[in-house]
Amino acid sequence: MRGIDDIDRRLLRLMQHDPAASAAKLASQAGLTKASCWRRIERMETNGVITGRSVQIDAKALGYEVEVSLRITLDKTLSNAFDNFIVEARKILEVNEIQTFLGRVDVRLNVLARDMAHYQGIYRTQILSLPHINDIESLMLVANVKSVERLPL
């Protein structure tokens, strides 16, 4: 696993819990010198264990009150159904996540809308005109109960 040792794992756990922590703070918590802490973080960035940093933005604060998870099954008798579908789904600006699955559901689209009327417009004019759809199930988000994407390292 790309030469990850227990100290690296401890560092990653600390960074997951406090992503804004300075190298000095991480070093003291991990029991490292600042220089060796830096080296380890830099190495993990170079070999692709740490792929980046992100800023979390609340969609509701931007005026997106409605969030719907569309679970879609495709007509798989066509060999290029997945590719065609995803190319077209990418063109819908309100779709912020596209996932493909092995299971009863083939593709999931996450759709953000300002309100129900806006959502209805997106659903009727853009989602329903996507190619090769066999069936759609909708799950409407009521609340995010947990959304800390921390790996159990």
Partner: protein
């Protein structure tokens, strides 16, 4: 909800495209002085538009080869059972996301595991034993693309 002007939106777009940028770099992109940019980012944080920061890790490189989404239907309903279920489910470290939803299922879960055998262990020992759990559907994630929010 706070009113965002074009500069606030430019800051949010810049930070969405690269969350590792420091205030000075963001200021340069949006054409502000560093102190003015810092004040705006601070305002966006205070207004909970920016809710936090995260580091992104390569799951595969760290040995988490399997991500599964679960749809869970509760067998028993009522306020107490929802609270019991939620309290127990958020304590499972392999469960990264829990969403309360309306529709065919009551909850959506994102679960990470080392491999399918590890997933089976989490499913049998931790998920199927949750209080009130009824029907469970599993879909194994094959690919995922996330796109920035329209700001």
């Amino acid at each position: 909800m706070i009113d965002l002007d074009d500069t606030d939106r430019a800051i949010l777009r810049t930070l969405q495209s690269d969350g590792s940028l420091n205030t000075g770099a963001v200021a340069k992109v949006v054409g502000l002085s560093q102190p003015a940019c810092w004040r705006r980012i601070r305002k966006l944080q205070d207004a909970r538009v920016i809710t936090g920061r995260a580091i992104q890790l390569n799951k595969d490189a760290l040995g988490f080869g399997v991500t599964v989404f679960l749809g869970i239907k509760l067998a028993t309903k009522g306020r107490v059972s929802l609270e019991d279920f939620e309290r127990a489910v958020i304590a499972i470290s392999e469960v990264q996301v829990v969403q309360h939803v309306l529709g065919l299922y009551d909850y959506r879960l994102k679960v990470v595991a080392r491999d399918i055998a590890d997933f089976e262990r989490v499913l049998r020992r931790r998920v199927m034993t949750l209080p009130g759990v009824g029907n469970v559907e599993a879909n194994v994630l094959l690919s995922e693309e996330k796109r920035p929010l329209l700001v």
